[in-house]
Symmetry: C2
Subunit: 373 residues, 2 copies
């Protein structure tokens, strides 16, 4: 198999990730619940993972990192914890349903930053969308459809000048490019994509303190006689038993990224994506979606071939070449409406540090064959 | 280490559990997101796990099993999804905070079934607690503190006769004794205790259909253009990427339980607990909490030794004998108030199928030494 669906989940991971999970399953107790070695071991490794992740975003505050089971859970907890019915909130037309649906559920008043024909957000229009009642801006750092990276530092500057709290979805960027706290107040991340962790991991990183309402509650191993668990980070988001097995695996993924460096990872992935782009951009009948003008892109390229639905193309790639891609609508409904691809979808190729140039070349050949060259 | 904290999490697991997780991390794609083999493999194994769990409770409805990351998440989603502010709800004084706190958060009108001095619930009093407005009863199947198993079939009969929906927390019983749908309408379970699965797994099993409100929402890989994900089981509870790695491990745990049989598991665990009980019940200064009169108990024994706090006793057991237990309040605040153990807590010994009689005997000796024999 040639695996080009790394935006959905990474399968090729540093071997130490799975080894760590194996070790944890056989050796970790329930973290924060007791003081014998196996429980303390789990507790210590969870803390160390917080520290590694905190450091990766340039923060020296391990306890500002809370663990959840996914970016979706992170976004749900943060949005439901902060945003109330009727609050005015700005978001964008490029968002994934993991951002849009929790916002719809919150019942807030939504304003959308639009994008151009290449999916680039019209940041000039943000100021016009801001009302006196606007208190939050929620957006994604990099698009899972176009691979465009948004200039979130610029958005955050605008937010700060209007006392707007900015929540950033870093599902597609964390581990691939630098993510820092000059980009937002609150970061929501997943563990199983660019961080190379296991599925079932994710989290929330905050810079500063926020008055989150409790959304999910239960036992926490401390202050058992109070009606709710602690409101401080990270307890506010961590009711119930930790997934310490998964978190320990995630720690190894994060350490791998630090060892290689996001600069080197981005460079390798850019070279793969650039080679692919150069090989296919002039194919007859191909449409590419996104802004390919700059260096700062994710290794994500979505296309359609004239005369085929995205499902047909992805099926042909899989059935005839064992190339795994993703067809369909990629959970980003507003962007597909913007691109008029609601019915046909797109075929997305998303690369990882562990892909090879040879795989890229095979895929270019396959697309040429399918296009009738 | 002699590990007697199996009610918190099981560490000794069938080896195939960790092996399955290792395999899944290196081979599974994102389930439900595409149709290449790695994605379908994950999807198929998740479905198979649903089927195994459904079968374990005597239900032939795999899609009635939804996966969450913990029993705490399950209880939060079910309680917030069904119970509204002002609803009248019956629960018990023996509940864990994973039941109590979501009920407090829901803002419902709560009535509590009391217990006697051995922690046995006064089921005769239920009828008196039922008001015309009572629509839900939420309780636990087996106490994580006393090891008492509640006659939930009797409670469910009462519920059915009053059109009350019964939600059962099976965190302590699933995998250890039979759990069936003549006990409740909705079951909330964890994966990492009696089912021997990895941490980060759990779920919800329903018998029939219920009108759950959406509590957690996001991408689901299907119907991306609707404002929310599907309201049907299991989608209603499963926004975001599955923890397919953990779920595959859980499948192996469930298969192990089916192979051995809950009857044989219960017998072995009862023998361990009975041997321990017999060995310590007459120690000078010991207090045991719970009803030890019958066969149907969980392998959980909580004690105090006169003149020591629970923390002192558990520390002594760990420091001098490498016996891992749990001290403190076990996240069951109302029961500790009932037993007057708020300050001193209790030391809990909880056994598993993988413990040995030799370990029990060593622990009895240790307690005798500490008690000054």
């Amino acid at each position: 198999m040639i695996y080009f669906d790394n935006s959905a989940t990474t399968i090729a991971k540093p071997p130490e990730v799975a080894e760590a999970v194996l070790y944890a399953i056989n050796n970790f107790g329930n973290a924060s619940r007791s003081f014998y070695d196996a429980a303390l071991l789990a507790n210590r490794e969870i803390f160390k993972t917080r520290a590694e992740i905190s450091e990766l975003v340039g923060l020296d505050e391990p306890l500002n990192v809370a663990f959840t089971c996914s970016a979706t859970e992170s976004l749900n907890l943060v949005i439901a914890g902060l945003i109330k019915k009727g609050d005015s909130v700005i978001t964008t037309v490029t968002e994934h349903n993991s951002v849009l649906r929790p916002l719809y559920l919150a019942g807030c008043d939504l304003d959308f930053i639009d994008c151009d024909d290449e999916g680039v957000l019209r940041l000039d229009e943000i100021e016009k969308l801001i009302k006196p009642s606007t208190r939050f801006l929620v957006c994604t750092h990099g698009s899972n459809v176009t691979g465009n990276i948004t200039d979130v530092k610029r958005i955050y500057e605008i937010c700060k000048s209007h006392n707007i709290t900015m929540i950033l979805d870093i599902s597609q960027t964390f581990g691939l490019i630098d993510v820092t706290f000059d980009m937002a107040d609150i970061l929501c991340f997943t563990g199983h994509k660019g961080l190379f962790g296991p599925q079932g991991t994710g989290g929330i990183i905050v810079n500063g303190s926020f008055d989150f309402d409790i959304v999910k509650t239960g036992g926490a191993g401390v202050k058992s006689f109070e009606r709710f668990q602690q409101k401080e980070m990270p307890d506010i988001f961590e009711a119930g038993t930790h997934n310490s097995h998964g978190i320990y695996g995630l720690q190894k993924g994060v350490q791998f990224i630090k060892k290689i460096g996001t600069g080197a990872i981005h460079l390798k992935e850019r070279k793969l994506a650039e080679r692919f782009y150069t090989g296919i951009k002039n194919l007859k009948g191909i449409t590419l979606y996104g802004d390919f003008s700059g260096y700062d892109r994710l290794p994500v390229i979505s296309v359609n071939l004239e005369g085929m639905t995205s499902a047909d193309l992805a099926t042909s790639l899989w059935e005839n070449y064992e190339i795994a891609t993703r067809a369909g609508s990629h959970c980003a409904p507003l962007l597909h409406k913007r691109f008029n691809t609601v019915d046909m979808g797109m075929v997305r190729f998303s690369f990882s540090y562990f892909n090879t140039y040879e795989e890229i070349d095979i895929c270019i050949c396959a697309l040429k064959n399918i296009a009738g060259y």
